[in-house]
Amino acid sequence: MNHTVSDTSRARRLFVYIILILWAVISLFPVYWMLTFSLKTNTEIFGENVAGLPREWVWDNYVRAFHTGNMPRYFLNSLIVAISTIFITLAASVMATYAITRLHWKGRKRMNSFFMLGLTIPIHASIVPLYTTLAKLKLLDTLWALIIPYSAFSLAMGILVCTGFMGDIPYDLDEAAMLDGCGVWGTFFRVIVPLMKPAVATVGIYTFLQCWNELMFANVFINSDKWRTLPVGVQSLSGQYTTDWGPIGAALSIATIPTLLFYIFMSKKIQDSFIAGAVKG
């Protein structure tokens, strides 16, 4: 009897592993494919060697992708936008969440629902009024034209995630801090902020994703090549090389590799902060 149980559980475990690994392959495959075809000639991509490693490594594809567009510049712009947006979103949403969930006042529930409206608003719905205003403020064609809207649109998600995590912090803690005479700001900085680290990572990721991918605003609010962000750069490069897959693959790879390297390097840290959050909770 015992034997059978352990057999089925072993079989089940094997089954689980197969699914986990299969999904890993499915998740990785497009990236693998992109990296390989970025180094192939059209003849290899279009028939001889569709999915294998390149037989002849065509680094020239990368040279062409680098020379046609200004990929490093686009990348830097996207990075500046992302970091500024994350900083603004984090600061604003942790503060707002604290006021909404820990301080007592009439209408805080309503304030929360008000912010949650932001979750539901499609970012493109405000493009025309925003454009007019940004133009009046002479902010068009600067990175601010992206940072400000992106921060605003990331706020709702930031507050939502922060609310989830802040709920895990026992009320006793800040009540005790209050009794010790810390005051509202003292409690916020000494008790809440240190315990919000796990949320910081998550909010950071969400915000990063929202602004890293955005195409429409980046297209309309930025005119000059020097302030262009990655999605716009990649899209226009792909438009120029529709029939020449090698350079497209190279451009897509250039846009992707730094993020992936950063992620591989940081994923441990992100997990650590999750665990820290769990211990405190």
Binding site: T133, A152, P231, G281
Partner: protein, 292 residues
Amino acid sequence: MKKPLQYKFNIFLFLLPALFLFIAVLIAPIIMSFYYSLTEWNGFTTPEFIGVKNYIELFTSRSINIPRALKNAFLLALLSCVIQLPFALWLALRLARPIKGKTALLSIYFMPVLISTVVIGQLWLKIYNPDYGILNVLLRSLGLDKWTQVWLGDKKTALGAAFVPILWQYVGYHMLLMYAGIKGVPVELTEAAMLDGCTPAQANRYIVIPYIRPILRVSVIFAITGSLKSFDLIYVLTNGGPSHVTEVPSTLMISMLFLRNRYGMGSAIAVMLIILCFFFAVLINMLFKEEK
């Protein structure tokens, strides 16, 4: 209890940055969009007030066909909830347990989320390419020539083909969110349950899942509203075509605004979307609260 003025002022200060951004960038433009939705406006001349005519046309016009766009968005939301989220939860639960290669798997699953949507779209365009795409090449090499399709160009397969990358990309997104929640479950709770004779599956069912409700709520809201306003991948992959079968409300809105110069009608779609998303957000919140 009356609060001292200082306290109220502090609350205001805490809210100030968020409120500023929120009102200036979201609320005011939305109110302007609402006003525009009641006008006939080509974007250049003065908007002419026409009442709710845009809304009437929106729901009666055969050529705009908003019901089809809504149906597509709802279908995506449904698929998200019945395929994507349960699978993400399953992955998160598995990875939360001690398991070999967990760090690597977690990183791999999340990876598609980090890649720019434009890159994902371009990659899947290539995967679906009828002549050289890996999908048809694979089918041909397996001798399944009959199954090869013009995936994104055929009215029968385009919608499904466009949904696959969307669902695929965001599995890792929800998984990471849920994983973060599960890691927040106190170990003592699950350990105590196990000592009481619970199987891991039962512990998940009765301890972990109820504990991560707030996160699940976030995931569900996000999956549904995200589906209703989905745009980027559809835009890159099909832009609503062929023959509008993959149209979703956002692509309709963009074509009203920027192809047809119908800012009034585009704004009406925007307002409808906002209301719809808001309605679902409230509904989900209520459902989660009631079950409690």
